[in-house]
Amino acid sequence: MTNKTDDSAFRQMLLDPSRRDEGFRALLEQYGRRLYWHIRRIVVGHDDAEDVLQETCIKVLNRIDSFKGDSPLATWLYRVATNEALMHLRRQTHLFQSIDALGETLTAKLQAETTIEGHEAEVLFQQALLTLPTQQRIAFNLRYYDELSYDEIARITGKPVGTLKTNYHYATQKVKDYIKEHSL
């Protein structure tokens, strides 16, 4: 996703008070949009994505000293963003309710936020994705939209590569079936 030199340069800048501002803006310039769309695909809502992106930025800046460079910086950023998005979804659940039960809520948000006219197929595709369990949906997004390798997705989600491959195959099939079933 990125090379080590860039990562260590970013880290040094963020840890140096005199260069932190410049370094953080450069970091967001490079990764901000990808992080935003990754978050948006998880939480769906426009305002939700804004909030989660903000929390992610705060967490990244406060925890940059814990990033040791064992994995690429982009992977670490994706992990922070994913965790923040999951926490945001958890806050929307009732007591003892799983975030997987938010499918209908997220679908309603999706329909309310669809701004492009005549894009029923894209809505249908996203609706199909929202029928997947959240962790599976995240892994699918990282592979399909962000085109990350299974190793990178494993580092972000903490799931074994084998599980991710199986889940991706299963998710793809489920999405295809949903589209086929709901296309007119």
Binding site: G32, R33, T115
Partner: protein, 111 residues
């Protein structure tokens, strides 16, 4: 809706954001994060922490109180000393009590 398949939908999303919006959003996020960096927990977070600590203390006190006054450990009903048998026994003198027939457990016939 026409027949759609996984492949021809591709990676298009049903919503979009303008470049200006994203620039502004990232700029604002950077500004807020840099401002908040290194700041101690805000008043609201401290308030939440104190409220949580107080709730835990109250819960522990409640559990302790419950344990000390556990209803299940008390007799089902207090022993009564005002029934007719008690009144009769209370009216007896020590000598009369001594003359009451006493049975050993073995002497009680089985039903």
């Amino acid at each position: 809706m026409k027949d759609e398949s996984f492949d021809n939908i591709g990676k298009r999303l049903p919503y979009d954001e303008s470049e200006e919006y994203l620039d502004g959003l990232l700029d604002k996020a950077a500004h807020v994060a840099l401002q908040q960096h290194g700041k101690p927990l805000g008043r609201k977070r401290w308030g939440l922490m104190w409220a949580s600590a107080a709730a835990v203390a109250l819960l522990l006190m409640g559990i302790g109180f419950h344990e000390l006054n556990d209803v299940s450990r008390q007799p089902v009903a207090a022993q009564r000393a005002d029934g007719p048998i008690d009144e009769f026994l209370n009216s007896l003198t020590d000598e009369e009590v001594a003359q009451l027939p006493c049975y050993e457990i073995e002497e009680i016939p089985e039903y």
